[in-house]
Symmetry: C2
Subunit: 211 residues, 2 copies
């Protein structure tokens, strides 16, 4: 697919953008990276994602694909001859989709509450966040990746959020590693092996600027 | 697949459950329907969906699949020889996934706010709800179904919520049809043609019991 034109509209600290960067890197797809200023969104972003007006957007041969998990599935289906991200078995695929969806519904939402809420609401979010990570730790078990021996859809969905854990811990005054040592060891190892260039760590500059 | 054992754990007014019923009906899959009492969830439900403890759950040959849109994709992939629900083209598939996700993020969430909030919050939710439906109306255009000539993934994601529109309108004191006549004509027609047995209308008994 040498003639493919691929552009990613993104914003560097976005865990959703990181997912797409990781998927493209795993597939070896060359692309143009366009950094967006989210306070002054480009005409291209508004044209390519008129419904949600959000990054990331993958523009492939002029056509936009939006929403990070949908983009990762699209990448897996278009560049299907190398580095499969989703299993081919329908049941295994449904399980991978379940856990990636769990990351969106729990890890992202609760992380957001940790840095945007105070008092009881923040405490409840911290507890739910740790409980959710423990569930993911149980699902991971002793495997090197969620899907087995190679990086896959759930890893790509989850590991970008590791970039934000330092911010969550600092703002929420708690220690994730003390509660979920196996999951943090997994995140550290995955970041080192596969994701270093694409998952900056820690993302703290923007959200801890009052330190 | 005559030897398949398929059980659906469900709750009749659930639009998420309706999606699964519709997909199974389109594929002609025979299944056992098990009604759950959500105030007293069965041991089977807690065992089959220990993470979210929610219906619907499709139990296929003893193995559970959870989350309605994930179940519909699973059904489409397992019973792939009849009535395809998702397009085969990756770009069209991504577009279908985008709009089904939009239904979950907008139509469901805003509908819930309409019946659970009051005052300004309710008014804002009503406005966003209508704006979101208008976007879907634009996407539908003059096609009989979102995907073209036959029922597909986006129709299955959206139309079950039509069962709830009467409740939203009554509680929110507004008229959806006056704002989105084409979309309501589509919902009425789709329900009549494909979905009558599976999409009860209107769902009002439970949520308007104070009338």
């Amino acid at each position: 697919m040498a003639s493919d034109q691929v552009t990613l509209l993104d914003f560097w600290p976005s865990p959703f953008g990181m997912r797409v960067r990781l998927a493209l890197a795993e597939k070896g797809v060359k692309y143009e990276y366009t950094e967006e200023d989210l306070r002054n969104k480009s005409a291209l972003l508004l044209q390519m994602n008129p419904v949600n007006k959000q990054i990331p957007v993958l523009v492939h041969n002029g056509k936009p694909v939006c929403e990070s998990l949908i983009i990762v599935q699209y990448i897996d289906e278009v560049w299907k001859d190398s580095a499969p991200l989703l299993p081919s078995d329908p049941y295994q695929k449904a399980q991978a989709r379940f856990w990636a969806d769990f990351v969106d519904k729990k890890i992202y939402d609760l992380g957001r509450k940790i840095w945007s809420k105070k008092g009881e609401e923040q405490e409840a979010a911290k507890k739910d966040f740790i409980d959710s990570l423990k569930l993911m730790e149980g699902e991971l078990g002793d495997k090197p990746y969620f899907g087995g021996e190679t990086i896959g859809y759930v890893d790509i969905a989850l590991v970008p959020f590791y970039s934000w854990f330092y911010a969550y811990e600092t703002i929420g005054n708690f220690n994730i590693e003390a509660e979920c040592p196996k999951l943090i060891a997994y995140c550290k190892s995955r970041r080192k092996n596969n994701m270093q260039r694409h998952v900056p760590f820690p993302v703290k500059k923007m959200f801890l600027c009052s330190e």
